[in-house]
Amino acid sequence: MIGQGVLKPSYTQRPGFFAGILGMMAALAGTLLVMGFVATKEDIELRAREDLQRSLAEVLPAGGYDNDPSADFVDLPRGDQPPLRIYQARLGEQPVALAFEQAEPGYSGDIRLVMGVSMSGDIIGVRVLSHTETPGLGDKIELAKDDWVLGFNGLSLTKLAEARWAVKKDGGEFDQFSGATITPRAVVKGVKRGLLLQREALGAAQLEALQIQSSTERMEDKP
């Protein structure tokens, strides 16, 4: 024990003293945390932005656009779900492709997907951003592990009938993995839903309005 044998002033035995010490330490800790937060805030935002740009570049046509899609987005309202943020790739002023992130529940937890779709509805690319599927079985959906996810490239709802958007076990077009059916099934479902969302967004002429809105925003950006 510290200070054993040394007579301590009596106030150091009062609960209020303990509370005061703890309070002071909490204030010190709080100050340190605020300083740390402020010092790292900008860098963390920058890193998140870089991550987004990198994942969008994976699923958009390389060299086929000249804007920064991560800054050119619209939020598509989706009923009670949080709105879907759609990033637009443009060449000149002409939109060439859309990209968006969405999550689909897999075998254990959500599988987060990012996909890019051309204006004609063809898939440019699909990537899995994060997942918690079984390593060695379900993780073949990562491009680093297997090229399965490249099988979506170039497909669209017109090239492949809606009913065929399923794994082979369910009478569809896509391979399941040995030992893991739920994971690829979830990814196929997510991709199909993404295409439906994209078609809905285009068909409802919603996007046209959104395009005008966002291009006026862009005008305002550059006075």
């Binding site: 703890l22 330490m25 800790a29 945390l33 740390g36 790292t40 963390i44 890193r47 390593p135 060695g136």
Partner: protein, 230 residues
């Protein structure tokens, strides 16, 4: 630690931290992060180094403030200090070691609950001056890192046939040479990568250490009778 005199013996501290009183292999503490991240040696090394930093800083702070903190409220004070250090490390890694943060991100806040760090603050840093406390933090942290790397490496070799896969994400591309494939065209042994494999492998390693300890002890006692240390 059980010594009555307060003169720090640094050799003893290192021996305690790395082997005799190793956080994982002897004290059986901090198993949660251990089991969660040791799918590969690289992840184990990353988690070990982050924990090492927290061990050292937490011991340093506790030792510096040990005259201020009354023993009645020491535990909440330690928890507060450790949580602050971990949060700061988390923020800084997110900003400046982003690739590693993406791999370990989920587990870094959990270092707060690493009972071994609280244990060192309570058992050592609160009772000893700054320098020995920092050395103790280093030794215990290195012992923990060692345990994570050994367990990660053995699970990775048996589970996927590789060693230090993705080391370049952690240490930069100059360390890509560490990445080796020990067993080419290996189908993998899934159980070892999953959490149960961690328990099984840990059991083998701890058993191995016990056997080794007993052998060493038997050798010692037959050759030189050790003077009773404290």
């Amino acid at each position: 630690m059980s010594c009555a005199d307060n003169k720090p013996r640094y050799r003893e501290l290192w021996g305690e931290g790395l082997w005799n009183n190793n956080v994982v292999f002897s004290q059986m503490l901090a198993l949660c992060p251990l089991l969660a991240v040791t799918g590969t040696a690289t992840n184990g090394l990353g988690m070990g180094l982050v924990s090492l930093a927290v061990f050292v800083i937490a011991n340093l702070l506790v030792s510096m403030l040990r005259g201020v903190i009354p023993s009645e409220v020491r535990i909440p004070a330690f928890v507060l200090l450790i949580a602050t250090v971990v949060t700061l490390v988390d923020l800084m890694m997110n900003a400046w070691l982003h690739e590693l943060h993406k791999v370990l991100g989920l587990f870094i806040p959990l270092i707060v609950t690493n009972c071994a760090i609280l244990g060192r603050a309570e058992a050592y840093a609160y009772k000893n001056p700054v320098l020995p406390s920092v050395v103790d933090g280093l030794a215990m942290g290195l012992g923990f890192t060692l345990a994570l790397v050994v367990l990660g490496a053995s699970r990775e070799i048996v589970g996927s046939g590789t060693l230090f896969a993705n080391a370049h994400l952690l240490l930069g591309s100059s360390f890509a040479f560490l990445e080796t494939t020990l067993i080419p065209n290996y189908g993998g042994f899934l159980l070892m990568i999953l959490p149960p494999g961690a328990f099984i492998m840990l059991g083998f390693i701890v058993a191995g250490k016990r056997v080794l300890d007993r052998r060493l002890k038997a050798d010692h006692s037959t050759q030189t009778p050790q003077p009773m240390s404290c």
